[in-house]
C-alpha cells in the first residue's frame, strides 16, 4: 500500500509542476494549494497512520489546523478590509467595489 501512496504522491507532484506552467489566471494559486493539501492529507492519513488512529489523535490534528486557520483568517480580516471605506453606503460605494475587485 505504501508504494501506491508514493505513486499517487509522485503523480500529484508532476501535476502541480505541470499546472505551474499553464496560465490559469487567478486559479493557479488555489490549484497549487489544493494539490498540496491532497498530498499532505495522503501522507497524514497513510504514512502517519492517522486513518487507523484514535479519535483523540484526529481531534488534536483538527484543533491544530483550526487554530492555524484562526491565525490566517483573523489576521487577513484586518488586511483585506483596510482599504474599505468608512463612509455610509452611497458615498463610498465605488471605493468598496473597487477594493473587492482586487
Amino acid at each position: 500500500m505504501y508504494y501506491g501512496i508514493f505513486a499517487a504522491l509522485m503523480v500529484f507532484t508532476g501535476l502541480t509542476i505541470g499546472v505551474a506552467f499553464i496560465n490559469l489566471g487567478a486559479l493557479n494559486f488555489p490549484v497549487a494549494i489544493s494539490i498540496a493539501i491532497i498530498k499532505a492529507t495522503l501522507v497524514i492519513l497513510f504514512f502517519m497512520h492517522v486513518w487507523y488512529s484514535s479519535q483523540l489523535t484526529k481531534l488534536i490534528i483538527g484543533t491544530g489546523l483550526f487554530f492555524l486557520m484562526v491565525l490566517f483568517v483573523l489576521t487577513m480580516s484586518d488586511y483585506i478590509s483596510r482599504g474599505w471605506s468608512t463612509y455610509p453606503a452611497g458615498a463610498g460605494q465605488s471605493t468598496r467595489q473597487s477594493e473587492s475587485a482586487r
Binding site: T63, L71, T75, S77, D78, S81, R82
Partner: protein, 537 residues
C-alpha cells in the same frame, strides 16, 4: 487531635546531594527547582519595579537616565512575563500537584519535564546575560521597527532567551495534556477531575497552540536584526503591524496562561474552605476551555490604534466581549459557592478573597479596553498598565500566593505561621490597590505609559502609586521570610491539615517519591465535602 509528626521517608529526604536534585526525574523535586528559580526571577523583576516607581515619584527624570529607565521597564516586563508569570503556577504548583491530583506516580514524560526546567534556565541565562552586558530597551513587546532598526541594546540575546524559554512552556504543556489524558487513576473520570486540573488542561492548550507562534516571531525579529533579512521592514514594503499580529496572537492568550491556573487554585481553595461542592462544577470547568479557545480570537484588541482596519477592529472588539463572559461566570460561581458554606477564614481563603475583588475590577476594566472608543483614548496609557496589573498581580499572583499557602503543608510537610500569612494577605491587598488604583485615574487623565518624565499635574497620583508599591514590596517579602522560617520551625502538618478532598491529601506530607503507596481508586466527584464527616488529620 494529636500533634502529627513528619513521616520518616519522603521525596525530600530519600536522596541527598546536589546531583540528586539536578538529575531528578521526580515531578515534585522539579517543581521545587522551578519554585526557587521563579522566586529569584520574581524578586529581580520586583527590584526593577521598585526602581521604576522610585523614578516616577517625581515628575522630572532625575534618578536614572532615560536610557536606564527604558531598560528598567523592559527588563521588568520581560522577566515578570516570560520568567515569572507564565511558568509560576503551571511549572511550580501544576508540576507538583497534577500527578498527585490524578493519582499518578509522575508526569507522563519525567525526563522531558526535567529538560524543560533546563531549557527554562538556559533561556533565563540568555536573558540575564543580556541584562548584565547592558540590558535591553525595547519594551517587553519588542515592536518593530524599533527593535530591529533603531534600538542599540541587546535585543537579539533577549529575543533568543524568550525563544528558548518558549520551548520550556511547550514541553510543560505537552506533558500536562498527555498526563491528564493517559495517567488518571481508575475511576477518575473527566468530570471528577479537580478544577485545578481542568484549568491546567486549558492552559496547556494555550502553551501548545500559542507559544510556537511567539517563538517564530521572536526568531524572525532576531534574524531581521542580526542578518538583515527583511520581513517586517517598512523600508522594503514590509508591514511592522504584521509583527504585532503575530506577537499578540500568542501574547494575548498568554494572559490566560497566567490567570487560568490561578483560577484553578481559587476553585480548590474556595471549595475547601467553605467545605462545599463548587457551585456549577461543569460551568466552571468548561469556562476554562472557553477562555482558552476564545482567548485566541481576540488578540487584535491590543492594536485598535495601530493602523488596523476599522472593520477588523469591530470584529475583534465583539469577540473580546465574548471572552469576558466565561470569566464572569467563574466569578459568580465562586461567590455562589460561599453561600451556605462552612467558611473558615484561613490565609489561603483571604488571598482568594483578594483575588475575587481585584480580578473583578481587572476584568471589568477590560470591558473599557475592549470598547473601541474608550480604548482609543486609554490605549498605551497608565489605564492599561493598571488594568493588566489588576489581572496579573491582583489575579495571577494572588492566586499563586493562595496556592502556595494552601499546598505549602503538602509540599514541605510543615505549616506556615497563620497569623503572619493573614497579615501579609492584608498588606498585599492594601499595597496593591494603593499602587495601581491611582494608575487608572492617571491613565484616563492621559498619562502615557513608558514615560520617564511626566507633566507635574500627575505627580500626586504617582506619589500615591509609589507609596503603595513600597507597601506591596513589604507584603511580598514577609511571606518569603516566614516560608523560609517554616522550613525549619513550622509545625508538622500531617497528611491533610485542611480537611480537604482531593487525592493529593490522601497521602503523607511530604509525599513519597511515587506519591502513593498504591494506585488510588476514585469513586466520587472532586468536592464531596458535604457528604463527609469532617476529620482533620
Amino acid at each position: 487531635m494529636t500533634t502529627p509528626l513528619l513521616p520518616r521517608e519522603h521525596y525530600l529526604n530519600i536522596r541527598y546531594g546536589i546531583l540528586s536534585w539536578l538529575l531528578t526525574k521526580d515531578h515534585k523535586r522539579i517543581a521545587l527547582l522551578y519554585l526557587i528559580s521563579v522566586t529569584a526571577f520574581f524578586f529581580l523583576g520586583g527590584f526593577f519595579a521598585v526602581l521604576i516607581r522610585l523614578e516616577l515619584a517625581t515628575p522630572a527624570g532625575d534618578m536614572v537616565s532615560s536610557d536606564t529607565y527604558n531598560k528598567l521597564f523592559t527588563m521588568h516586563g520581560v522577566i515578570m512575563v516570560f520568567f515569572f508569570l507564565i511558568p509560576s503556577i503551571p511549572a511550580v504548583l501544576g508540576n507538583f500537584l497534577i500527578p498527585m491530583m490524578i493519582g499518578a506516580k509522575d508526569l507522563a514524560f519525567p525526563r522531558l519535564n526535567l529538560l524543560s526546567w533546563y531549557i527554562y534556565m538556559l533561556g533565563g541565562t540568555f536573558t540575564m546575560w543580556a541584562v548584565i552586558v547592558g540590558g535591553v530597551d525595547t519594551g517587553w513587546t519588542f515592536y518593530t521597527p524599533y527593535s530591529t532598526a533603531a534600538s542599540n541594546t541587546n535585543v537579539v540575546a533577549t529575543g533568543l532567551g524568550v525563544f528558548i524559554t518558549g520551548f520550556s512552556s511547550i514541553l510543560t504543556g505537552l506533558n500536562f495534556i498527555v498526563t491528564i489524558h493517559r495517567m488518571r487513576a481508575p475511576g477518575l473520570t473527566w468530570f471528577r477531575l479537580p478544577l485545578f486540573v481542568w484549568a491546567h488542561y486549558a492552559t496547556s492548550l494555550i502553551f501548545i497552540l500559542g507559544t510556537p507562534v511567539i517563538a517564530i516571531t521572536v526568531l524572525l525579529l532576531a534574524v531581521e536584526r542580526g542578518l538583515h533579512i527583511g520581513i517586517f521592514d517598512p523600508a522594503l514594503g514590509g508591514d511592522p503591524v504584521l509583527f504585532q499580529h503575530l506577537f499578540w496572537f500568542y501574547s494575548h492568550p498568554a494572559v490566560y496562561i497566567m490567570v487560568l491556573p490561578s483560577m484553578g487554585v481559587v476553585s480548590e481553595v474556595v471549595a475547601c474552605f467553605s467545605r462545599k461542592n463548587i457551585f456549577g462544577y461543569s460551568f466552571v470547568a468548561f469556562s476554562s476551555l472557553a477562555i482558552a479557545v476564545f482567548g485566541f480570537l481576540v488578540w487584535a484588541h491590543h492594536m485598535f490604534v495601530a493602523g488596523m482596519s476599522v472593520y477588523a477592529a469591530m470584529i475583534f472588539s465583539f469577540l473580546s466581549y465574548a471572552v469576558a463572559i466565561p470569566s464572569a461566570v467563574k466569578v459568580f460561581n465562586w461567590t455562589a459557592t460561599l453561600y451556605k458554606g462552612s467558611i473558615s477564614w484561613q490565609a489561603p481563603l483571604l488571598f482568594v478573597f483578594g483575588f475575587l475583588g481585584l480580578f473583578t475590577i481587572g476584568g471589568m476594566t477590560g470591558l473599557f479596553l475592549a470598547a473601541l472608543a474608550i480604548d482609543v483614548h486609554v490605549h498605551d496609557t497608565y489605564f492599561i498598565v493598571a488594568h493588566f496589573h489588576y489581572i496579573m498581580v491582583g489575579g495571577a499572583i494572588m492566586g499563586y500566593m493562595a496556592g502556595l499557602h494552601f499546598w505549602w503543608p503538602k509540599i514541605t510537610g510543615r505549616m506556615y505561621p497563620e497569623g503572619w500569612a493573614k497579615f501579609s494577605a492584608l498588606v498585599i491587598f492594601i499595597g496593591f490597590n494603593l499602587t495601581f488604583f491611582p494608575q487608572f485615574v492617571l491613565g484616563y487623565l492621559g498619562m502615557p505609559r513608558r514615560y520617564h518624565a511626566y507633566p507635574e499635574e500627575f505627580q500626586v497620583l504617582n506619589v500615591m502609586s509609589s507609596a503603595g508599591a513600597s507597601i506591596l514590596a513589604v507584603g511580598y517579602v514577609i511571606p518569603m521570610v516566614y516560608f523560609l522560617w517554616s522550613l525549619r520551625y513550622g509545625r508538622a502538618a500531617g497528611p491533610n491539615p485542611w480537611g480537604a478532598t482531593g487525592l493529593e491529601w490522601t497521602t503523607q506530607s511530604p509525599p513519597l517519591t511515587e506519591n502513593f503507596p498504591m494506585t488510588p481508586v476514585v469513586t466520587e466527584g472532586a468536592y464531596e465535602y458535604s457528604k463527609r464527616e469532617m476529620r482533620v488529620v
